[in-house]
């Protein structure tokens, strides 16, 4: 009588302990390792986010292998434009110091379209002190060139005023000489 009473009590207590330990183990299994270090989230997610590979490098990275373009680009009014905007990302071009692909170079009408993304006067939100804008085809008419001309026939794409300044220097020299 007395013994069976104690046995029942023992069984109840044992099952409570087993259930508690089991529940704690189960809960531990469900919670990710670094959960709760900084807050209600996985702290490892931060270091994982920091390890995402980068695809855009910088102009300096491009200039290392393209010194000719670098020399022109750095001097001109377009020096703040990223190489990767027109040509594509560094990651598509170089991997571990080796060339893995060729980046596109814009040609003919593509160039005019690209120029007018920024330099179109019709978009009134562009301030004069920020960017110089032109209206097409009025600009071509004003400069007395054919209406089929592309922008890069007068403007170097990397340094837009490169040829213009040079041409002005030459004509001034000729005026002075005559």
């Amino acid at each position: 009588m007395d013994l069976s009473y104690r046995l029942r009590l023992f069984i109840v207590l044992l099952s409570i302990v087993v259930l508690t330990v089991g529940a704690l183990l189960f809960k531990n299994l469900l919670i990710p390792d670094s959960f709760g270090i900084y807050g209600y989230y996985r702290a490892d997610a931060i270091s994982e986010a920091a390890l995402v590979p980068i695809r855009h490098w910088t102009n300096i990275s491009c200039f290392k292998c393209h010194p000719y373009e670098a020399k022109i680009h750095k001097k001109g009014h377009h020096q703040t434009i990223s190489c990767e905007f027109c040509h594509g990302t560094y990651a598509d071009h170089v991997k571990n110091g080796k060339k893995i692909g060729t980046l596109p170079v814009k040609k003919e009408k593509e160039i005019t379209t690209l120029c007018l993304k920024c330099h179109n006067t019709e978009i009134k939100a562009r301030k004069e002190e920020v960017i110089k804008t032109i209206a097409m085809p009025n600009h071509l008419k004003d400069q007395n060139v054919k209406l089929t001309h592309n922008c890069n026939q007068c403007h170097h794409v990397h340094a837009p005023l490169k040829y213009i300044i040079r041409a002005k220097q030459i004509t001034r020299m000729m005026e002075a000489g005559s």
């Binding site: 997610a45 986010a49 980068i54 910088t58 920024c118 019709e122 939100a125 301030k127």
Partner: protein
């Protein structure tokens, strides 16, 4: 040990030693941190102290020309699927009747090449507003996430844990700035992270890096020489979007009109 073996051993040692010095540089690729000069001063010189960092982002509306460089860079940096945008540029047009017309064709990816033709009244004011994650200090998206997949990191970035996200899209509804979307392939939530991985490497976010006019500015608030610190400390008027929501964004706008939301 005789003289012969001693000389041999010394020679072998010095050759092996010099090879050891040269070898790792020749074979393995250099760390990115050694190849690109640091753009955010103070990140690389010592170990990153996550508990003692603060960053700010300033968008200067008066300088934005709507070229779409930032949108293109963002799409390429993360291979963002078509139709979804981590950052985009909106065009605001204000008529003399004070009516506001906002559009953002393809998120500004192709830039703004043509003016709007559907507006009949005379235009009073027009400007571009780049949009991205506001990195709220009291982020509604973090509050509603049921599984702890989106969180504010100790350095102030609102990030998404892809492995925990269940794609319930509750945060998409909660975000007052609509910067979140469900990635069509991964079926988890994606958003602008201010290029967290770049910042940790001491580099500027991709959109800031490519911005030709300096309309987007990013920097550390712990660095008193940084441009953003000087702007925030200075007297210029800076606004945040939807201030009345009480989200306390770390993204500030310079030159934003009252109508910008």
């Amino acid at each position: 040990m005789n003289r012969r073996s001693f000389v041999k051993k010394v020679l072998n040692g010095s050759i092996a030693g010099s090879l050891y010095l040269v070898w790792p540089m020749g074979s393995g690729s250099l760390e990115i941190s050694q190849q690109i000069p640091e753009q955010i001063p103070g990140i690389r010189e010592k170990e990153y102290d996550i508990l003692n960092q603060e960053f700010a982002f300033i968008v200067d509306i008066t300088r934005c020309i709507g070229c779409g460089s930032c949108c293109v860079a963002d799409k390429r940096e993360y291979n963002v699927p078509d139709g979804n945008y981590r950052t985009w540029v909106e065009r605001y047009v204000k008529g003399f009747s004070d009516k506001i017309y906002v559009d953002s064709p393809n998120g500004g990816l192709e830039g703004y090449q043509h003016p709007r033709t559907d507006i009949e009244e005379k235009i009073r004011d027009t400007f571009f507003v780049p949009k991205l994650c506001n990195m709220c200090k009291e982020a509604p998206c973090v509050q509603v996430c049921p599984v702890g997949a989106t969180f504010i990191s100790p350095d102030g970035f609102v990030l998404v844990d892809e492995k925990r996200c269940v794609g319930c899209a509750y945060c998409i509804q909660a975000c007052p700035y609509s910067v979140r979307f469900i990635h069509p392939d991964k079926k988890t939530v994606e958003k602008c992270t201010w290029c967290y991985q770049r910042v940790r490497k001491g580099l500027l976010p991709a959109c800031v890096e490519v911005c030709p006019t300096g309309a987007r500015k990013f920097g550390s608030m712990k660095d008193e020489t940084s441009e953003v610190y000087k702007i925030l400390k200075g007297p210029g008027v800076l606004t945040v979007l939807k201030k009345e929501m009480g989200t306390f964004p770390a993204l500030y706008y310079k030159g934003a009109r009252r109508e910008v939301i």
